[in-house]
């Protein structure tokens, strides 16, 4: 069942036994690393204390801590996980990849599973903050079933660090009740309208990648540009737009729903959720381009409940569970098994699966934007202006 070594030194065995007795590792971990897993039914009786009750419940501990994004999981799936394993899922919600990285860099987050975006994974590997995944503990992960475009960022130097959750685009949501019939198709319109009839009604994200990236797209520059002159143009636009903004915040659903905000930078799943509940809110991909991204499940170094982490990821990768997730959050999955379970109407949904001519100009975020000090400072100047 596992690829654990079948031989470990006597000293290591005693160390593991000691840890097991103190309760700092679980029975399953102990059996696995000592190679006793397969023989446990025989040996279990011989070593007092190893014959614990039914394997399922107590095995993975009583909790798994998940660091993720807002509106990103079906709560019912977590209830089912708790039912099946006895472990509760504690959800910590974050506002940006930068914040996740900052918390991990400062040490001791207590997370078991986190959800990094494609362009951040190499930085986590470089900073030694992420654990290589043991696929033997993820039987539901079938690499062959994934569209490689949305899975390849999970591997760095041939080692697997993260498995795909779902992908999506970053466009904007606009309440068409207020556009006066104008058809919204571009980032140029997004910023121009904000400074005109939408003044005081537009929201932009509270992190650098998309807010700066989409301002760059206004001028037709690359979404990932770190060129000083191009960033200067984007900065000027953002500073001009700022007095006309409703808010700089990545939590835009409440304001869009209650009508305070009319337009917001928006991830496609949020766009889908808003559009489903309020049909006049449309989701638009800028003609000039913008971001396409893929989110992953990963385990940080030093996760306190490692067993539960693997169990949770494996559970969420189960096509039936994943299909429920997709129906809840409205982001497309790159997993063929999951898609086989989804209704035809969803698979043809233009918000989830945009037309090719809109998809082609989109760019994946580049790792350099995450650590580029100039983009970070630009964002700070924009926010404090």
């Amino acid at each position: 069942m596992t690829k654990q070594p079948d031989y470990i030194s006597k000293q290591k065995f005693m160390a593991e036994l000691y840890r097991y007795k103190r309760g700092s590792v679980t029975r399953r971990h102990f059996l696995n690393v000592t190679g006793l897993g397969a023989a446990s039914t025989v040996l279990g009786a011989a070593i007092p204390g190893l014959t614990a009750g039914p394997a399922a419940a107590g095995d993975i501990g009583d909790r798994a801590v998940l660091a993720t994004w807002p509106n990103y999981h079906d709560p019912e799936n977590f209830d089912a996980f708790t039912e099946a394993t006895g472990a509760h899922v504690q959800v910590n919600v974050f506002g940006s990849n930068e914040e996740m990285l900052a918390k991990l860099q400062a040490g001791a987050t207590g997370w078991d599973v986190f959800v990094p975006t494609n362009y951040t994974i190499t930085t986590y590997v470089g900073e030694d903050l992420i654990e290589p995944l043991d696929t033997s503990l993820l039987p539901n992960y079938d690499p062959a079933a994934y569209d490689t475009r949305f899975a390849e960022a999970g591997s760095v130097d041939g080692k697997l660090y993260a498995v795909p959750k779902n992908y999506g685009t970053t466009g904007y949501a606009v309440n068409t009740a207020h556009t006066g019939g104008t058809e919204m198709t571009s980032w140029k319109q997004f910023f121009d309208m904000t400074m005109d009839s939408f003044s005081g009604r537009t929201m932009v994200h509270d992190y650098q990648l998309t807010t700066i990236g989409n301002a760059l797209k206004y001028f037709g520059y690359s979404f990932n540009s770190v060129d000083q002159a191009e960033l200067a143009d984007a900065e000027k636009l953002l500073i001009d737009v700022k007095p006309h903004l409703f808010a700089i915040s990545s939590d835009y659903q409440p304001s869009m729903r209650n009508g305070d905000a009319w337009m917001t930078m928006c991830w496609s799943g949020d766009g889908k959720q808003l559009n489903t509940d309020i049909p006049e809110i449309a989701y638009v991909l800028g003609r000039e381009g913008g971001e396409i991204w893929s989110d992953y499940y990963a385990i940080p170094k030093g996760a306190p409940h490692r067993e539960a982490a693997y169990a949770l990821i494996n559970f969420l990768l189960d096509p039936a569970v994943n299909a429920k997730e997709v129906l809840f959050h409205g982001y497309p999955s790159a997993d063929a098994h999951t898609n086989a379970l989804l209704p035809e109407s969803l698979l043809n949904d233009p918000i989830l699966y945009p037309a090719a001519e809109l998809l082609t100009p989109l760019e994946f975020g580049a790792a350099v934007t995450l650590t580029d000090p100039n983009r970070a400072e630009l964002m700070a100047r924009f926010k404090s202006a």
Binding site: Q105, A247, S384
Partner: protein, 283 residues
Amino acid sequence: MTQRTRNFLLLAPAGAWFLLMLVVPLSVVLVFSFGERGAAGGYVPAFTLEQYANLPARWAAFRNTLFLAPVGTLSALLIAYPLAYFLAVRVSAKWKMLLLVLVIVPFWTSILIRSYAWIFLLGGKGIPALIEFIGFPAIRLINTPFSVLVGIVYGYLPLMVFPIFVSLDRLDKRLLEASSDLGAKPWPTFLQITLPLSIPGIATGCMLVFILLMGEYLIPAILGGGKVFFVGNALVDLFLQSRNWAFGSAVAVTLIVVMLATVTVYMRFMARLSANRDDVSLI
């Protein structure tokens, strides 16, 4: 046990605590402020004044804070003073305690939750809708400096009411009676007797609120929609977004210096006012 040993033992826990949790961390911040940012964030040891040279990049945050902190303090004072006066002078002893406790009770709900309630109240379906319903044109309240000011005054009002109440409550009511017996009008009585006597309370209240406002983060973050930016917000962003520990440390050191300077000047000024008060009370 000698007096000396006794004092040493009594002071040891507090001294050790201050050393480990105040002196050491602040020293680390000071050291970091002369360092550099690592390639992926964090801190790399160095000795450079670059971070301090870069401070003008956060001038806007300091400007906002140095504007809204005094304005917020003053607004809280203006709203709190009449209430404290009412509680101390006008209310019978029977009701005094109850009404005073009612000022603190809102404090027992998390400031986060209370601020969130203000999002609803100031948002499009709250007070603006009411104003429109009455027949006035709709106005934008949420995510403005005004909404941040409301949150600030709301959050810190009890801190202002209490010290003023205490100083007014001590005031000998016979003084006021004597004054009015002598034919003084209410306003001169207030200006010449009551107000000067309550200056210590005002001084304490303003200082408490001002100190808290200088480091404020939550209220602008929740009620300012990310558009109203204090030094506190700049610090959180520097540590949690751009992960620039060196520059963040320099901003923190600067904030401490600005505060110590402001508060020292303020205390001098208040001490002078209190000295005048002594003259007044002699009359």
